[in-house]
Symmetry: D2
Subunit: 410 residues, 4 copies
């Protein structure tokens, strides 16, 4: 019996439901998924089981193909909606929100670095087959080497982190051609003898993201599947480097989703279960002046960062719409804005997930309620790269007209 | 010789220029006005002269008729743009930004409470004649009484605050029909024997807003000019009560404009004049890690609140587009969102205007530079009503489903 | 094999060592205890075993009799040192710091409410026998009733929380004489048939404090052991009500200890294990400007609250030295100061325990390191009573000359 | 007629009163001075008159000789009390608090760098004659050169800042022996032809400190008055470098004094003049929950930093008591602690002086009340050196065991 089967809130049978055909309808679908996930998120956090059922839920709900072509049954939607969907799902379960967000990025990898033919083929296959994407990328550790064997290339090595790959259908693999600085990305089946997951992700937060290490042993990829290579040569363009702002906005949105989850669950608890203070003279917790102040303050802070996240996503959309023409200046200014919202989302999601306890009250620290998972989740992932460098990126642009240098990693 | 004539940056002759015909063009126009105002804002703050020249500048630039009908030569634009224009102007001079924002609200007063005929007449007259509006409203002090003399009504009393009225063409007058709870608004010429300005606004900030007290002595208004009255009876509808969220968004936007003015002037100064720290090992201030961190942090915070201000303005627009149908629930939820952005704009504009000094350095405290005016300006007006009650409004909605009660004042 | 026996850092044999005879020597002893506790605190947090070994450690080190009379082998020390000892122990293990702090308060209970004879007897017995004290008090829930049976009284009921009682030798019991408002405190053996611990403390923090519920069934106490009763009548004096400021300062000090533990362990980790940022150009984490800024900021904040905690403890000492003469005004002003330091300790310990992660970096989120326990610990106990009411107490004193009303609970 | 003569609160005739003979009595004296200064501080801030009368007040009250030997009529007190006196005076008038604090440092200059004979002579003369000290030091600008003319040395050049010198009896002069790195300090009469004050201190805060620039033209000093020189050679010891922590603690204490002045004047105003919010349902401002929260929060923050300032002053006293033996390690660790309290005092004094307005309400922005001066005062002087470097000093000590390098300037 899977975790999903035991869920208090069961998933509907979406196979009979029409595919959502508007952003609003997709958001409604995402909220259904959120509610299902929220109903046992605390228990699953504790259990830390591999989230097969949760990925199945994302597939059943149609969310994994949100960005896929409608001709193949995809949603045909754009990034701003994808980010909002990530936010909703993360409000229900931070780990699953992260898995979905990373999936969208890997799904988009072909667009970022692939040729026109590769893009078309990947999107069709991925959409038709509802592939869930994982990644073994993290180019911070250059420890996957690639041998060139003529018709094909062969990946071997180890990645410290491979978010979602274990529960995925396909994995975006990254390595360096031995003796060069050339990174090659390719999409490979996740379930193959050359890929071994070490199940060693045991961290204080985002516990269900299957972000453990992976060994790659002689994984063979035909040269024609090397993303963006034509005649074994990569033709760079600015759009290739959109990976960082695009995934950083994924981060932002699941942080905000987790914060919203914390805030809304806390509000519900305070309305129904928190007691007024013994000596305060109020009969209901919701009449305590400090409660009104606290929730008003936290919600205001969240709303501001959400608004910036939405605005920056729209700015990014203009770039995605002009993948061929985007300039370094445009890309750089966009990354600066992304850095800003990353900094704000980090601060505000940490503040909210820690401070809601003052609204909840002492009894809400019972381990069974699991209210600490929100803070543990944002605290864990917001360390992906130092937030101080995000503020610095913004400052360097304002004081020195400096654009962030594109990298493969944050 | 007026202050304007002495300006380092002279106003162009806009009478020959085409009226801007897009939001972008209007914003460009507003930025021209901002630059002119910024060039001597510190000196004018010190002098605290009556801003006749500045109001003339707003008229010359066409900004006063931004919301007026195009048929009469107005811009035909909407509130979201008006707010952004207020923000730009306030970045140049906080007082003038406030004057313009209040003008927009008083210009809109007919729409809020008037009959269809009154709206049409006021908008045509105001646009054709480029009226600048002031107000003697502030219903916190019920100290203007109205006598009903049959065909006309007669206002007498005193208002503690009458922002902009002294430099205006027309004033929105408010009073209470003696012996009743009925407030009556009317638009009257500002320059008339019955209206006496006491020039007693000498406050630490927003010094040029002419917000002093005024005495109203037997100002006569025909009944047909009593806004919204038909057969001497006012027909209330929800839209009448949009005054508070609409003016509160004006507040938000000039706070944000002042903050942006402070931030951008500080950046310019730090780039060109601030010295690196003696013992820090940097050759330029812009290479100091603390400078990069500081400006990156402040800009990120500002951008988030600006984004929320924009988003809430769009939400308000939907209500303005449906003045006849807006429900109490819609109005209330909008006011909650406005309260949230007010709370954030207050905190962030205070933080920015105080903290930029750490980027500026000690020499920037010279009185001649006047960098303290930004903080004095936001500190003064953000006390208009207690920000704590804004957080409380948001909290009461979230915890108790409570909608803010409409009032005539904040 | 107990947890203690497995400890990486073994406890020395203090039985041969001389009893510390100065505050400095006691603090050195407390630091030894801290080091022992810290060496496996993360593992014990996860295991959540009953802390028998840890209480034994506190006894072996002589800390439990710190406040006891030297004539009986106690340390003869005062509260300001006791608070500092709590801080040191809490730096090693927040739960054990809380247990020790509560012990000091219960040890002191006789002084607060007892007669001269009771005080002398309890202090002698407790010191000679190295009693560890627990409590089943929490008068928030008036759910222990007392029957008067002539020579003795009989307690029956249930307490939701009974910190440390399960691992204690004696328990301070509290109840209400049925049909009256009279609270009666008495010290009873913890291990007796009428006291049943339910082992239901499973919370996100302070996991080893054994704070679960307890059932009291017909626990008999002779009238002469009813603390402070003479001829079955309680003679109140102001000093009885010192329980709240005294225990609140205990809280403050273990919050500060936990914060210091987090900060110092983080510093050690950053010095030895944290990597510099990939793209930052530094070779060591300790050269990152953001690291210097972060730790400098957090340490400064901690030091300020520690200094206030020390100052307020000295203020309290003057009251303890004048138990017979303390006035309501003196007591009230002291409680106001305690409220202030409680508010600061709450904010700062939460900030430090959450923010040190930015110095630690992503890999420090590994569950095995358990760095989240510091935040979970302070987050849990700082909800004991709403911190908002502490700020309010301070404000009411300053604005209204109002003294906090003494209560049995916070 | 001087400003002093017009004062609403007149100075008593202290010449007949006994010299205070305990710290408590000195603090009571300082509070009398504070009350006199506070009574017209807002008016004097506006007038920006040269503070001759205020310096006379400090002399009349005996505060200028607080640190002088009792044998000569001085108070014979220590630095911790001097800091508290600075705090009290600054609470009444930030500028005068700064003048007094700088005076104490210059008075102490002989102790820091002089020979035993010089120390004895200076302290006797200064105390007997109630000298008020100014300084033309600021070694950031090495622009005063010294010619060696055999028996005497001759100072010529310019100092950008010379706090208090214009209103002083004697000035501590600093320069560099031409062609060397040797700084020479000497005490010279302030009123002499070679010293010209340019009266160019016109800054937004600390307006009465007479911190303008000064020209030094051929000011002659006998070699035997060159502080610390024996046979024209300076014998360095660690204690010479105590200037920075000693003056930085002066800064800390007048920041805290200004913050306390702001807080206490605001409390008084709120108790007596602030109105409750129109729609809040309270009859008195002091019953507003937000008011209680606000003042409780601000006072708690202030108290914590005051406590740290007191604690660090005591730590410094141990060094002053061992001037001959202080090591670099002791000095360095003290400066780290001073840096920490400087960082906290900066943040908290800015927060308090800006935020009290939310308790005061809108009408308190009247220029005549001058409530903005508190913020302007701390905002101005807290830029003396970048506070970011204070946090960095603390961080570098914790992460790298690094001691701050002694300098002549901050």
């Amino acid at each position: 019996m899977t975790t999903l089967e035991k869920r208090p809130t069961a998933a509907p049978d979406w196979s009979a439901a029409p595919t959502p055909d508007s952003p609003e309808a997709w958001l409604a679908r995402a909220r259904e998924v959120r509610a299902i996930l929220a109903s046992d998120a605390a228990a699953r956090d504790k259990a830390a089981e591999t989230p097969y059922a949760e990925v199945a839920l994302l597939k059943d709900a149609g969310l994994v193909t949100l960005l896929g072509p409608t001709a193949e049954g995809g949603g045909g939607q754009e990034w701003p909606l994808a980010y909002k969907v990530v936010r909703e799902v993360a409000a229900g379960d931070g780990s699953v929100g992260q898995l979905l967000g990373y999936h969208y990025l890997w799904f988009w990898a072909a667009r970022l670095v692939g040729t026109e033919e590769q893009i078309a083929a990947v999107e069709a296959d991925a959409t038709r087959n509802r592939w869930f994407f994982g990644g073994a990328v993290n180019p911070r550790d250059s420890d996957v080497q690639i041998r060139d064997e003529g018709d094909h290339i062969v990946y071997s090595g180890r990645k410290s982190f491979s978010t979602g790959s274990k529960v995925s259908d396909v994995t975006v693999l990254e390595g360096v051609l031995t003796g060069t600085d050339t990174h090659v990305f390719a999409i490979v089946p996740s379930d193959q003898p050359g890929i071994t997951f070490h199940d060693d992700w045991d961290n204080i937060g985002q516990r269900l993201t299957e972000s453990g290490s992976v060994t790659i042993a002689d994984v063979q990829v035909p040269w024609e599947a090397a993303a963006g290579f034509v005649d074994r040569t990569f033709q760079p363009r600015v759009y290739n480097t959109l990976n960082v702002p695009t995934i950083q906005l994924v981060f932002v949105n699941f942080y905000l989703g987790i914060a919203r989850g914390a805030l809304e669950e806390a509000i519900e608890y305070t309305r129904t279960r928190t007691r007024p203070w013994l000596h305060g003279g109020q009969e209901r917790a919701v009449d305590e002046p400090y409660q009104l102040d606290l929730y008003g303050d936290l919600a205001s802070k969240l709303w501001a960062v959400e608004a910036l996240a939405d605005q920056v996503a729209e700015e990014g959309l203009a770039i995605h719409h002009d993948a061929a023409g985007v300039t370094e200046q445009q890309r750089g200014e966009h990354e600066v804005r992304v850095a800003a919202v990353k900094a704000r989302a980090t601060d505000v999601s940490l503040e909210i997930t820690s401070t809601v306890f003052e609204g909840l009250g002492a009894r809400a620290t019972a381990a069974a309620l699991g209210f600490d998972r929100f803070w543990r989740n944002v605290r864990t992932h917001t360390l992906h790269d130092p937030v101080a460098y995000k503020r610095r990126e913004v400052g360097a642009f304002l004081l020195r007209d400096e654009l962030p240098e594109p990298t493969w990693y944050s």
